[in-house]
């Protein structure tokens, strides 16, 4: 007898028999000749798309093709933060939709992804920054999203390790979204994969897409390292590799691929119990359930597909960390990693149909892709299943660059290295 459903009871039962009854979390099927929908990319977004296609939109003859192992891209290489503290009307409803899906994710998937709503605190250091955060916090409230302004006294209570006395850029307060937090990143990929698999979705690892078969402007299927696979519809969800994959279909995207490094320290006893971002340098931090301080900063700032960065960025991030939180000086950085970010030209994503009939694009996530995973999956599934954008993702159009209806949260324009 094997065990399907996860619960404390199944764990206890399995404990008594040496955990021999657990089934693989997902099958390893050979590809079928064709599917109704093929999702290219077995990352968080691709797997989530498969889950929602099957569960919400009833499309179950679906394959997810992954060139390596699932969850090996950015869903497995990020700093695990989830939040919906956006400024612009094009973004807030989408990320709030994502936040709500996170809040019910574990019950939806029967998988504990350790969604931890420990709050996200954005420090500010000047009156101008405060006003900008108030504008953001107010926009959030107007969209029904929680936000609050914290004064220094309150900050001292919740983040006593910050440098309040000797900082070059004094801390003057913070914007907080209490519902923001962190999620155990790998578990998101695995949870979606297991759920999608349970609905009959084929998850095919070590299967690289090498081309598209397009006839009369309509997609017919994909060429892969495991042969041709026919498809009624194809969804691209390949994050940092979006431009490469789109190029196979003859498309050029408003995207550059950049490397973002992130870091984790050795495990320590509970030190910081919220997510905190520094407003006068490149640094943000949280602590994982295993005890590691998870932190990062800015992208390296040049096009890269190399999944690794360079030393100046590492130093810049740690300098920022020491400026705002000098108590971490003797904690050791244990590991660093680099992910390839699909940096769109206005800093916001694209979930849209393409000029090729039946070919859909989910890309341009910059470094915001992880928190978007559930909503990106749901909205992309909606688009693919119904050929109409999900209402919360309606602004994520590919033609906005030509029309000027951009969604530029940071106001830095078409310069991805500054987003």
């Amino acid at each position: 007898m094997s065990t399907d459903r996860y619960s404390i009871f199944s764990v206890l039962r399995e404990a008594l028999r040496g955990h021999t009854g657990w089934k693989p979390a997902w099958r390893s099927p050979d590809p079928k000749p064709s599917y109704d929908v093929v999702i290219v990319g077995g990352g968080g977004h691709g797997l989530a798309t498969a889950h929602y296609l099957a569960k919400t939109y009833g499309v179950r003859n679906v394959a997810v093709l992954e060139k390596g192992w699932i969850g090996g891209g950015n869903v497995g290489r990020n700093t695990t933060i989830v939040r919906s503290n956006y400024l612009l009307a094009g973004n807030i409803p989408f990320y709030e939709h994502s936040m709500k899906l996170w809040e019910g994710l574990e019950q939806d998937l029967n998988y504990n992804a350790m969604v931890s709503q420990r709050g996200v605190v954005n420090l500010f250091h000047s009156d101008g920054q405060r006003d900008a955060y108030v504008r953001r916090g107010t926009a959030m409230r107007m969209h029904g999203v929680d936000s609050e302004l914290l004064d220094v006294a309150e900050l001292k209570r919740i983040l006593p390790m910050l440098d309040f006395d000797n900082a070059r850029f004094p801390i003057k307060g913070a914007l907080r979204q209490k519902r923001g937090g962190t999620v155990r990143h790998d578990a998101v990929a695995w949870g979606y994969a297991r759920s999608a698999d349970g609905f009959g979705v084929d998850i095919i690892q070590n299967c690289e897409v090498t081309g598209f078969r397009i006839e009369d402007g309509r997609i017919k299927g994909v060429e892969t390292s495991r042969g041709f696979i026919g498809a009624g519809k194809v969804g691209l969800s390949t994050a940092g590799n979006s431009s490469r994959v789109a190029a196979m279909a003859g498309m050029r995207l408003p995207i550059e691929s950049h490397v973002l490094q992130a870091f984790v320290s050795e495990g320590i006893k509970p030190f910081i119990d919220t997510v905190c971002t520094f407003g006068a340098g490149h640094f943000y931090i949280s602590q994982s359930d295993k005890g590691g301080l998870v932190f990062g900063g800015d992208i390296d700032g040049y096009n890269s597909y190399a999944q690794r960065g360079n030393l100046p960025t590492v130093e810049d991030v740690c300098e920022g960390g020491m400026a705002v939180m000098p108590q971490i000086g003797r904690v050791r950085m244990l590991r660093s990693w680099g992910g390839i970010m699909d940096m769109s030209m206005d800093g916001s994503p694209i979930i849209d149909a393409t000029p090729v009939q039946g070919l859909y694009l989910n890309a341009g996530w910059c470094y915001g892709g992880f928190k978007a995973t559930p909503a990106a999956g749901d909205c992309f599934a909606h688009l693919i299943a119904r050929d109409a954008p999900h209402p919360v993702a309606a602004a994520y159009r590919l033609d906005r660059f030509a029309t000027g209806r951009l969604i530029d949260e940071k106001g830095v324009g078409a310069q991805p290295n500054l987003h």
């Binding site: 657990w22 504990n112 420990r118 006003d131 409230r141 690794r308 740690c318 108590q327 971490i328 050791r332």
Partner: protein
């Protein structure tokens, strides 16, 4: 008994120097040259820590940075360092260390009840439970898990020590000062090349100090010491002890950490605690040696189980017997040395278990040690409570022998330390014969030699190192003489540790990753659940994610996964490593510039004078600007600011505008270039006149604004906002060098060249007149609004005088060379005294610019186009300029786009705040009704109420309308009237006065 396990002789410790230290509050003694681990072992202390999950007793298993078990909190208070490996801590007087992750004490750890629940706590169990009810996660489950997780505690306060960064360049970087590394450094160094030799240890020589080898007739430690002495005598060789090369980066850049002061209690005066080396190396030789791997067997985590090579290190280098009676369990011939060395040191060998049954060296050693040899056997499990007291050995026929012992020395072979060779994406290659991953493609310029390359023999290592050194020197242009490879004592035919990787399973836990408590069963479970890719294995079980970065665990886990899934090791995957090679203090990567020195502090020329006046300063980017100048009796910024505004509006004030970016633009095409970067025309500007200009990004959004003055036909003087000075300079160079390379124009940043003071107010002309030298006319006729002239002030100091006004008053900007800035402000104040002058700060300036409706930072926020700012009509239709085309897109012309307007509260006593959103009166403050936002607000003394600027959709139709400024995060909502953004002197009569 003091140092019960210290051998009477042997080792490199200085027995004449006794060092006192404390562990868990108890005092002990060791010797100079000990590590904390060797000193604890010398004192017979075996139990040094508790494991992560099950809180099992743990002891020292290794002798270097690969140690997974012996982690302590070193030092106390603000200097507390969690998770410090006792094997890397050099003993110093007064060292104070605490064990971690135990409660209430190390010996009696109540948390070890976790072991009872261990059947539940398998890999990934938490993904399957703690889901109901959802709200209990943050409240109950997670805090529980978090308290249990983590090992040591962070320091209690800000790190009091200093760090330093240091960049060094060399022809050759040698990583590791073992035999291969020493040979490489010698070969290149003797030839005259610039060499840096770095090793993590405080004594150089690597395994030469851990083994009893003979080189050219000398003992191996002596040979190493002589080599080091020679290297230190070479002027172009830098020898770095206590220095770990952490990472390889692109372009031959390496990061290394030198532990300058970690071997003493507190850094000496002015000395950093640690130094981060950025090494730029033309060539690198990776000679980092290899690390021994264990074999998984039951209770292989008990204190007293030790790697066979580490046992030799403790014997030979530290003169410490890691036990009294030992079982040696190995699948390699190398462990024969452990048998011989233990035996020679008087440690009884209870048995030698040759796991493969094919290592003649082991067999000979067993014979020499008069120990029973068990060919093809295995240790089923170690037994004991808080430490090994015996083990159960299964022989080849399956019979179980029970053996008493207090040390199990184990060797499953050696893993080349080639982590650095994979940092740039190099893929290691599995060598089946050597049972090891060997370096594949290396970073450009890197050669791997010695054990790191799988050449485990001593003679081989020295020869390969020397060869690499010669090549590096000749690459750098130095002819190296042939390196005489020394003779070494005979080396046996090698049997590598090609498994078995684990003993046949027993009910006892067999650990793969000791620190993260990952067992063989966890690997099996991972396989069962489909996590068979090596990356999935790591992530699912946390194998290799601990502070030892899987140095002893990764390959073992991979091999067991291969075994379980019936695949070969290369089919199963490979172990890649990412920087850093060893964990590194965040403070060291941060460096010296902390606290107030985090970024440079730029002080405008009036700063020292303003300090004397008691000004309150505010950070503006890197600048410190005077925010306001309080006078006695004024109770807050508001009162001072209002007085300053009032003084400017009625008399005269002075403001240091030097922080504005200033760019000198010269050349025949200066005008042409300005016409490309500004939306309005500058070629038509008359000499001696200034004009306001707006520049866009190519995407049509406003980038910066300022005034530019034409000093001559071919010479302009541009000002930019304080925040964008560098970005504008970059933009100009881009336009000149890349977009229009044929233009002949040159730029010079003169931001810091000029001290520039705004003298503003109805009496400003009189003040200016009192300052300029005789013969210069500053009348309205001679210098009208937007006029500019060069003249001298105060008896001959050359100056530029501009008739510009940001405040809206009659105003001038007077610029003098910055060295006179301090004297100039004093002179202005003195000259202004009769007219009631006061200095004003950034707060008053902000009030006045809002009163005048001038856009500034909050309005030029990167998402506003010229039209949004009410400057659409300024754009020239007669020329191309950056941003022209994109500014014309539909989306930017949409009347729903918010445009700049002014606001005033309906209730004139109400306070208006920036950041508020605008909604129509009576409408719900919802997303659908969001009509814009307030960017800047101020109390206007001229109007007697608060005023604001902001962006409002369909603004043209809404003048006079009452809307709501919605501010739920602060004071709530107030009603405001939509008005023109100019609140003072809309006709501009004053500034033309």
């Amino acid at each position: 008994m003091a140092q019960s396990h210290r051998l009477p002789s042997r080792g490199l410790v200085d027995r004449a120097r006794t060092i006192g230290f404390r562990f868990d509050g108890r005092s002990y003694e060791g010797h100079a040259g000990d590590t904390l681990a060797s000193a604890l072992l010398a004192n017979g202390v075996r139990l040094v820590g508790r494991s992560f999950k099950y809180h099992r007793p743990r002891g020292v298993i290794a002798s270097g940075s690969e140690e997974p078990n012996a982690l302590v909190e070193l030092r106390t208070g603000a200097r507390r360092e969690p998770n410090t490996k006792a094997t890397t801590v050099e003993l110093f007087d007064g060292l104070d260390a605490q064990s971690q992750n135990r409660w209430p004490s190390l010996a009696f750890d109540l948390m070890s009840v976790n072991q009872l629940a261990s059947p539940v706590f398998v890999a990934g169990f938490y993904y399957k439970t703690f889901m109901w009810p959802a709200k209990l996660w943050e409240k109950l489950y997670e805090p529980m898990i978090r308290r249990a997780a983590g090992l040591g505690r962070a320091a209690e306060a800000a790190d009091p020590d200093d760090y330093e960064k240091f960049t060094a360049h060399c022809d050759l970087l040698v990583v590791g000062a073992g035999p291969a590394g020493l040979a490489a450094a010698l070969a290149a160094g003797r030839a005259g090349a610039r060499v840096i030799l770095a090793d993590e240890d405080f004594v150089l020589g690597g395994r030469l100090n851990a083994d009893r080898r003979v080189i050219d007739g000398a003992t191996s430690p002596d040979w190493a010491a002589r080599a080091v002495a020679e290297l230190e005598s070479l002027p172009e060789v830098t020898v770095l002890r206590r220095t770990t090369v952490l990472a390889a980066y692109d372009g031959g850049v390496y990061a290394a950490l030198e532990r300058v002061s970690d071997h003493i209690a507190v850094p000496a005066a002015h000395q950093p605690r640690q130094r981060l080396w950025r090494i730029v190396a033309t060539r690198a030789v990776l000679a980092a040696g290899s690390l021994e791997r264990p074999i998984a067997f039951g209770n292989n985590d008990l204190p007293g189980v030790m790697l066979a090579g580490a046992a030799r290190t403790y014997l030979n280098r530290y003169g410490v017997a890691p036990g009294k009676r030992a079982v040696v369990y190995a699948s390699t011939s190398d462990a024969a040395r452990t048998v011989l060395d233990l035996s020679a040191a008087g440690v009884e060998i209870a048995a030698v278990v040759d796991a493969r049954g094919d290592a003649p060296a082991l067999q000979e050693a067993a014979k020499a040690a008069k120990a029973p040899l068990i060919l093809g056997g295995s240790i089923a499990r170690a037994t004991g409570w808080r430490g090994v007291s015996g083990c159960e050995i299964a022989d080849a026929s399956g019979r179980t022998l029970k053996m008493e012992c207090d040390l199990v020395a184990v060797s499953g072979g050696w893993n080349p330390s080639m982590q650095l060779s994979t940092h740039l994406g190099g893929r290691p290659v599995w060598d089946d014969a050597k049972a090891a991953f060997l370096p594949g493609s290396c970073p450009p310029g890197m050669t791997v030699v010695g054990a790191a390359a799988g050449a485990f023999g001593l003679a081989q290592a020295i020869a390969a190192g020397a060869q690499a050194g010669v090549e590096a020197a000749s690459d750098a242009g130095f002819a190296a003489s042939a390196f005489d490879v020394p003779s070494v004592d005979p080396e046996p035919d090698v049997v590598y540790g090609r498994g078995p990787w684990r003993s046949p399973s027993t009910s006892a836990k067999a650990f793969v990753d000791l620190q993260n408590d990952v067992t063989v069963k966890d690997v099996e479970l991972s396989a069962r659940e489909g996590f068979v890719s090596v990356e999935h294995l790591k992530r699912y079980t946390t194998l290799g994610m601990a502070t030892d970065q899987g140095k002893t665990a990764n390959l073992l886990g991979l091999a067991i996964m291969a075994d379980v899934t019936g695949r070969t090791i290369p089919q199963t995957g490979m172990t890649l490593s990412r920087p850093p090679f060893a964990p590194v203090a965040i403070g060291a990567l941060g460096g010296a510039h902390r606290g107030k020195e985090f970024k440079p502090t730029r002080l405008p020329p009036s700063h020292f004078w303003a300090e004397e006046q008691g000004a309150v300063f505010t950070e503006t980017g890197q600048w410190m600007r005077a925010a306001y100048f309080p006078r006695s009796g004024e109770k807050d910024w508001f009162e001072s600011t209002m007085r300053e505004v009032e003084t400017v509006r009625t008399k005269v004030g002075v403001y240091d505008a030097s922080t504005l970016g200033k760019i000198d633009i010269q050349g025949p095409d200066a005008a042409a270039l300005l016409d490309k970067v500004y939306i309005n025309a500058f070629a038509s500007l008359a000499v001696g006149k200034a004009r306001y200009g707006l520049m866009l990004r190519e995407d049509g959004m406003a980038m910066d604004d300022g005034t530019t003055t034409r000093l001559s036909d071919t010479h302009y003087y541009m000002t930019t906002t304080t925040a964008n000075a560098a970005a504008v300079m970059r933009h100009l160079e881009y336009a000149k060098q890349w977009l229009w390379p044929e233009l002949d124009v040159a730029f010079a940043s003169v931001t810091d060249q000029w001290a520039q003071y705004a003298i503003a107010g109805p009496r400003s002309r009189e003040v200016v007149a009192a300052l300029v030298d005789e013969g210069f006319d500053v009348s309205n006729e001679a210098l009208p609004y937007m006029g500019a002239t060069e003249l001298t002030v105060c008896g001959g100091t050359r100056a530029r005088l501009f008739r510009l006004s940001f405040s809206g008053e009659l105003a001038y900007e007077l610029a003098v060379p910055a060295r006179y800035g301090d004297a100039m402000i004093r002179a202005i104040i003195k000259a202004g005294q009769p007219f009631g002058i006061c200095p004003y700060g950034a707060e008053a300036l902000s009030v006045m610019r809002i009163e005048k409706g001038h856009a500034a930072g909050p309005e030029l926020n990167g998402t506003t186009a010229a039209a949004d700012l009410g400057m659409g009509r300024m754009a020239s239709k007669k020329k191309d300029f950056i941003g022209r085309a994109m500014a014309g897109r539909d989306g930017l012309a949409d009347p729903a786009r918010p445009r700049l307007v002014g606001f005033r509260p309906v209730d004139r006593s109400a306070r208006l705040r920036s950041g508020s959103h605008l909604v129509a009166r009576g409408a719900e403050p919802s997303a659908a009704n969001d009509a814009g936002y307030v960017t800047s607000t101020a109390y206007s003394p001229s109007n007697g109420h608060w005023i604001g600027l902001g962006f409002l959709a369909r603004a043209e139709e809404r003048m006079g309308e009452i809307v709501i400024a919605h501010d739920p995060l602060r004071d709530g909502d107030i009603e405001v009237e939509v008005v023109s953004p100019v609140f003072v002197d809309p006709e501009g009569a004053r500034l033309r006065a």
